[in-house]
Symmetry: C2
Subunit: 208 residues, 2 copies
DNA sequence: TGAAAGTGAATGGTCGTTCATTCATTATTT
DNA sequence: AAATAATGAATGAACGACCATTCACTTTCA
């Protein structure tokens, strides 16, 4: 079962939510669909079934809601791959595949239309909050780089700039939110296969 | 000489601009730096050296400015590669490299910070204008697909979904706007080399 | 003189946020 | 058990700020 990253551990086996959780859940949907600036407190409130003023009983301002969403989402992406770092018992290619699989599943698992909240949303955060999110993103990059570097040392991967590779992979996945359709030609699993294949083998033919 | 895509043919050998052109130029910079919604008519006007009301002597509204910018930018990306389509005299790998080179140069040529105007901006356009921009984007995709398909037929590339490849390549390039620094480790030329290499050969080593 | 360029003031709207207040529920005290 | 106090949830009204846009006007300049 695939669930929206933000509340992965929360959604399971739950039938009721606190108001705070409802606000986060609804805001997350709206932010992803319409964008942060284009979502008003009125939008959030009415999608929760009450008036804007009530939101301030649970969050001190709009930015805090965005921050909580981005933080939770980033944590959800990070959590399952933290253990991969420095684990010599796992093959770098397998580890890379796990990272891709996890990221794609969380990105496309529950469909939200086309907004790049994660790229754009950082701009609306305070310096302090922005720093915290970027720290998490850096940790993600670090894990990717470690896997890639080890893969090069072990001869699985050729010598290539691991930082650029990590950026490129993340870009492909992040932006697939914009066009991927669960009813389209490919399933999420097939898309994971494509990405891993594309990244590892490239597009060139060996038959010449 | 590398110039900002939007006014590629305009900036060359010009010392004076019409007010209309100044507005487009300044707006483009602001939109890329701060985002469309976050840029006010006051911002645009004061960066042009006059008052907001005067803008309406040249453009009927804010959206039209955005539309003109996106259209010009897309045209600039498209123009140099239109001739590649259906040209049997050029090798598909060379054609692909030309597409990448052109796109990267226009994307990173004149540095604008971190906003993904092109992805996000579509949401602010009217249906009619949105359709026009998407038509241009589709033409770009079509050219990429044609090159890739021909490359497969000729045995240069292995059998792979050309649509997904085109999306992936565009994603890598578009998102490099967010992190690429002209003062950083790599020059634009080196970055073009990396992308072409990464896309064609992948990361896997042949030595195992 | 007349068109083009530019302006200040005003309009109607939306936004995030604050605040005093209501109401039902829960906890505490008598 | 009854009376009282405290609390959390929710509200309507209002605030100040900013927004895109309009319009009647002055200025500029050919």
């Amino acid at each position: 079962m695939v669930v929206h990253s933000l509340f992965a551990e929360l959604v399971m086996n739950r039938t009721s939510y606190t108001t705070r959780e409802v606000i986060l859940l609804k805001s997350s949907i709206l932010f992803w669909e319409k964008g942060y600036a284009e979502t008003s407190m009125k939008d959030i409130a009415s999608s929760c079934g009450f008036r804007p003023a009530n939101i301030y009983n649970y969050f001190c301002n709009k930015e805090t809601i965005l921050f909580e969403i981005l933080k939770d989402e980033m944590e959800a992406i990070l959590k399952p791959i933290r253990k991969l770092k420095g684990d010599a018992s796992i093959n770098p290619p397998d580890a890379l595949r796990k990272i891709i699989e996890n990221h794609v599943r969380l990105t496309l698992g529950v469909r939200r239309s086309s907004m790049l909240l994660f790229d754009v949303g950082l701009g609306y955060l305070s310096k302090k909050n922005k720093k915290k999110i970027i720290q998490l993103r850096d940790e993600y990059d670090e894990i990717c780089r470690e896997i890639l570097t080890r893969g090069i040392q072990m001869g699985f991967f050729r010598k290539i700039d691991v930082k650029l590779v990590a950026f490129s992979v993340a870009s492909i996945i992040a932006r697939s939110r914009m066009w991927f359709s669960p009813n389209g030609k490919y399933s999420v699993d097939e898309y994971i296969d494509f990405i891993y294949d594309f990244i590892t083998r490239g597009i060139i033919s060996m038959r010449r």
